[in-house]
Subunit: 333 residues, 2 copies
C-alpha cells in the first residue's frame, strides 16, 4: 500500500505516521510507502524510515504529488480555528482550496483511494432560536459558528459526494479536542485544554481563559490515532451512505481536568493554573458542544478514553518515551 | 439601490427581474440599477428598461463586475441536478467555484450586500441507516444525494460564515420544485413536474417517468418569486444566526397534479400524460423529500400556493400575458 498523510509532520500526523509504521500494515495490507506532506519537513525519526517520503510546502502547490496515486489517505492538514478567525483568506485557502485540490487530484489519479478526513466537533454550534444542544450526537443538526467548523462541515459533504460517485472511498472523523498536546500553545482556541495540564507539569504557570465549569469532550492523542486507523479499516458498507461520525470522546469539565491533575501530579502542580478570562476564547468555546456522544463509532468498535487521569498518565509516559517531547516537559513534577 | 441577479436571463431570474422592475423598490428603497448576469443576454423586454444592464458570459469570468459594489444580490445562477450528475466538473465549476468568486468579489467590494441565495430542497435525502423522513422541516438533518444538493448545502454554510463575519448579509432560500415552467424540458431531474402539465396543455403527449403516487412539495413561479423578494426584505435580526430556510411549498402527489389538470383543462388534456418509468430519474426523485414544512418562512409571513388548480390557472394566465411563453402553449386546450 501507498499511504499519504497530509499534515503528517505535525503532532497528530507524526504520531499517526509512527503508529502506521510500527504496525507495518493497514486493513491487512502491508504499507510499502508512507508519503508525508506538510508545510515543514517530517521529524528526523520518521525520515530515518526507508518507507517514508517527505514533501515540504503548501498542499496547494503539490498537485502532481497528490495525483500520483494512493491506496489510502489521511487528510489532517488544516488551518486551525483561531487562525481562521484572524485570517479569513488563510482559512479558505488552507482548508477549502487545499482539500478541493486533494480531491480533484485523487479523482484524476484514477485510483479509488480510501480516505479518512479529520473533521471536528466544531461543526456543531448554537442556533439563535434554539440554544446549544448540551450533548451533540451523530444526528445533531450542525451549525458551525467558526470558519474552521464551517470548512470542516462543507468538506464532509464534498467528500461524501465524491464517495457517492465512486471517485474516493471517504469517511469523515469528527475529532474531539485532543489533549494533552506537547509543545507550545498554537492558534487553536482549544489550545488551553492542553496548556492547563502541560505547563504545570513542566513547572510553569498556566492561564485558563474560561471558567472551571466549562465542559467539553476530549480525547487523548493515542486514542484519537487509534480511532483514525480503526475508521480507515472499517468497510464502506458498515458506514452506509453516511460518512461523517463523531469520534468517541471523554466528556469532562475544566474542574474535573484540574482535579485529575492534582490526583496524578499533586497539589503544587495544580496550583500553577490561574483563571484569567479571555473574552475572545471564551466566546468561541461558548459556541462549542459541552459533551458528545458517538453511537455510530462505538458500534464500529471505536472507544473513548476511560478517565482524564489516564489521559494525564499517557502524557507523562509519552514525555518519557515518545520523540518530539521536550526534555523539560516534566520538570514541574 | 443597485441590484444584481445572477442567472437573471433564465426563467425564474427573468421573472424576478420583471417583478422587481414593476415594484420599482426593494425593502423601501428605490431600485436605480438592475444588473443581470447569465450565460446568455437578458430577454428583450428586460433590456428595454433603462434600469437594466445585462452581462452575458460565465459568472466565473465576471470577477470585476461582481466586485463593483451591489446593495442587493439574488444569486440564482446554477447548474441543475441532472447536469451535475452527468458532468461532475461542470457542477463544481458552475456551482461551487462561481459562488466562491461571487462571495470573494462581494467581500472585496467593501460594501455589505444583502444576498438571497437560491438553495434547494435537494439538500435533503435519506440516510442508509435512517430512511427518508417523509416530511422535511427546517430542522431536518440534510443529507444530499446529488452533487447539486451537495453544492447548495455547502454554499448555505459558506454564506452563513460570510454573514457571521459581516462580509455580506446573506440568507438562503430552499426552493421547492417550481412548476409549471414554460419552454422545453431542461436537464433537471425535476423537469417532468412541469412537463406533465405544460405539454398536454400545448396539445402534446407527455411522459411521466415516475409513479402517480410520487409526492413532492412544489411552488408556482409567482409564489416562488414573491418568497424570494419577501426573504430579501426580511431583517437579518428576524433570521437569527440561522440563515437557511425552507420556502413554503404545496405538498402534492403526481396523481393530485393530474386530477387538478383534468379539473382545470378537461379529460382529453389529462389523457395526454402517459406513464413510462425512467429508472435514472425515478432513482433521483426517490431520494427527494416527499413533503416539506416551512415553519420559519411562515413565521416571516411567506405563503405557499393554496391548491394545484391555482398553480395551473396561474400558468394558463401567464401563457396569455407574460413575455417568453410560446404562442402554441395553450393550443391543446
Amino acid at each position: 500500500m501507498r499511504i499519504l498523510i497530509t499534515g503528517g509532520a505535525g503532532f497528530l500526523g507524526g504520531r499517526l505516521a509512527r503508529e502506521i509504521l510500527k504496525r507495518g500494515q493497514l486493513a491487512g495490507q502491508s504499507v510499502k510507502e508512507l508519503v508525508i506532506t506538510d508545510l515543514f519537513a517530517a521529524p528526523a525519526d520518521l525520515l530515518a524510515d526507508a518507507r517514508v517520503k517527505s514533501h515540504a510546502g503548501p498542499l496547494l502547490e503539490q498537485g502532481d504529488l497528490l495525483a500520483s496515486g494512493f491506496d489510502g489517505v489521511f487528510h489532517l492538514a488544516s488551518a486551525v480555528s483561531g487562525e481562521c478567525e484572524l485570517d479569513f483568506d488563510l482559512g479558505l485557502r488552507s482548508n477549502l482550496d487545499s482539500t478541493r485540490l486533494l480531491l480533484d487530484s485523487l479523482r484524476r489519479s484514477g485510483k479509488v483511494s480510501r480516505m479518512v478526513f479529520a473533521s471536528s466537533i466544531a461543526v456543531f454550534g448554537p442556533y439563535a432560536d434554539q440554544p446549544m444542544t448540551p450533548v451533540v450526537s451523530d444526528t445533531t443538526l450542525p451549525s458551525p459558528q467558526t470558519s474552521y467548523g464551517t470548512h470542516k462541515l462543507m468538506l464532509e459533504y464534498l467528500m461524501a459526494d465524491h464517495t457517492r460517485k465512486g471517485f474516493i472511498d471517504g469517511r469523515s472523523a469528527r475529532l474531539m479536542t485532543v489533549t494533552v498536546r506537547p509543545g507550545k500553545p498554537n492558534g487553536a482556541a482549544s489550545s488551553f485544554f492542553s496548556g492547563i495540564i502541560r505547563e504545570p507539569l513542566a513547572g510553569a504557570d498556566s492561564i485558563c481563559p474560561v471558567d472551571a465549569s466549562v465542559a467539553h469532550p476530549v480525547s487523548s492523542p493515542a486514542t484519537t490515532i487509534a480511532s483514525l486507523i480503526a475508521l480507515f479499516e472499517t468497510s464502506q458498507a458498515s458506514l452506509g451512505n453516511r460518512l461523517a461520525l463523531n469520534l468517541p470522546g471523554l466528556n469532562v469539565t475544566v474542574q474535573q481536568m484540574l482535579d485529575a491533575l492534582e490526583k496524578v501530579a499533586g497539589k503544587a502542580v495544580r496550583q500553577r493554573v490561574h483563571f484569567e478570562r479571555d473574552e475572545r476564547v471564551a466566546g468561541i468555546v461558548n459556541n462549542w458542544a459541552r459533551a458528545a456522544t458517538s453511537e455510530r463509532a462505538l458500534a464500529l468498535g471505536l472507544r473513548a478514553d476511560t478517565s482524564f487521569e489516564s489521559i494525564i498518565e499517557q502524557y507523562i509516559a509519552d514525555c518519557r518515551s515518545q520523540p518530539g517531547y521536550p526534555a523539560h516537559a516534566l520538570q514541574g513534577l
